[in-house]
């Protein structure tokens, strides 16, 4: 009975495997793997120096990248505290005809690193000098 139930759970998970991914990457969007005309989620890094605010103060445009492909995103609303360039983010919305992803919701993704500001500064400085290998502070 336990084995049968376990098998059922396994099959269930296998079926839902494709639906359990929270988001698509910009490369998957570029390859056309995303649902056409429907709302979906896209996740990646906010590209450096790409965030531009529009005149109304609420509309933001930025580029989302996975270091291979980049897509432009437009969003009107309040951004979460952790949203910034170089940080991970997940947006919900649709692609329009011009290939711009119009987001109805933008979420910030946090990484697993926790440290005091002084340590972060020190790591940043060390990285600039090139003394630091830099695999702890990968912003993802």
């Amino acid at each position: 009975m336990v084995a049968v139930a376990g098998l059922a759970v396994g099959l269930f998970l296998n079926v839902f495997k494709s639906n359990i991914q929270l988001f698509y990457s910009p490369s998957e969007v570029a390859d056309g793997l995303v649902p056409d005309g429907a709302e979906f989620k896209v996740g990646g890094l906010v590209a450096a120096n790409s965030v531009a605010r529009q005149g109304d103060g609420l509309t933001v445009e930025f580029l989302l990248t996975d270091n291979a492909n980049t897509i432009p995103i437009r969003y009107t609303g309040i951004l979460p505290d952790l949203f910034r360039e170089g940080q991970g983010t997940v947006s919900v919305g649709k692609l329009n005809r011009d290939g711009v992803f119009v987001a109805s919701k933008v979420l910030a993704k946090h990484d697993e690193n926790y440290m005091p500001p002084e340590v972060a500064d020190a790591l940043e400085k060390a990285k600039e000098k090139g003394a630091y290998g830099g695999d702890t502070v990968i912003m993802q």
Binding site: M1, V2, A5, G6, V9, G10, L13, I20, Q21, L22, F23, S25, G43, I78, L79, P80, D81, L82, F83, V90, K105, V106, L107, A108, K109, H110, D111, E112, N113, Y114, M115, P116, P117, E118, V119, A120, D121, T136
Partner: protein
């Protein structure tokens, strides 16, 4: 060793042992929680990105660990109960379930409170969040099933099977952040690598985690004692203790 195990399994001996160690554990637990909270909320530095909001991890992470730990305790006791019909294991599983559900709820609610300002959402159907929610439903289902059947023995057996089946969810919760793209960040501590959390923030977290474990242990022991008294109410040792007014 087996003899010792057998003696411990006797409800009377377990009751006596729990009676002796509970006060000590209570004192250690209170000390750990007090020091852990003070060092976590006052002494530990602010985070470079999240500021003060990150301090919720001192409740959130230990709760999440406990939610999985208690489930494993229940599953382990259920296996022992099904194989050797050890009554004590059944009692421990029975009294642990509400506490496990409470810790799961605490992990979900503190995570939600943190998620709104940091992620920008109270809830997302992310693999980590969803599998933790399934854990809460497993606990609720376990408790409901136990009480749904007419005879307590049948209820205990059915619930034990449910608990064992539900074990598949535990590795799913743990590895969800690696297997799938999730909003929830990957593990900072429970991985085969140096923790990605600064030592000044890690120590209070570990103190809190240990404090939470002892909190569970103290409560589990005292609730187990109550159930033992209830089940053994007609035996001579409970009666003689009752007459001496020492319970």
């Amino acid at each position: 060793m087996f003899q010792w195990f057998h003696r411990l399994a006797s409800l009377k001996n377990f009751y006596r042992l729990a009676e002796i160690i509970t006060p000590w554990l209570t004192v250690i637990c209170a000390g750990l929680l007090a020091v852990g909270l003070y060092r976590g909320l006052v002494v530990a530095p602010t985070d470079y990105e999240q500021g003060e909001s990150y301090r919720i991890i001192y409740v959130h992470v230990p709760s999440a660990w406990m939610s999985m730990f208690i489930y494993m305790v229940i599953a382990f006791c259920s296996a022992i109960y099904l194989i050797w019909k050890m009554k004590l294991a059944d009692i421990v599983a029975q009294v642990s379930a509400p506490m496990g559900a409470a810790f799961t709820f605490l992990a979900l609610s503190t995570g939600s409170l943190w998620g709104k300002p940091m992620w920008g959402t109270w809830w997302e159907w992310d693999a980590r969040l969803t599998s933790e929610l399934i854990l809460l439903f497993l606990y609720i289902g376990y408790m409901a099933l136990r009480n749904a059947l007419d005879s307590p023995a049948a209820g205990a057996k059915a619930a034990a099977i449910l608990a064992l089946v539900g074990v598949v969810n535990i590795p799913i919760i743990h590895y969800s952040v690696e297997w799938w793209n999730t909003l929830h960040q990957p593990a900072s501590i429970t991985k085969f690598d140096t923790p990605s959390i600064h030592i000044s923030m890690l120590i209070p977290l570990l103190l809190m985690a240990l404090g939470f474990k002892l909190f569970y242990l103290v409560n589990m022991l005292s609730k187990t004692r109550s159930v033992i008294l209830e089940r053994e109410a007609s035996t001579s040792w409970v009666r003689s203790r009752l007459q001496e007014n020492k319970l």
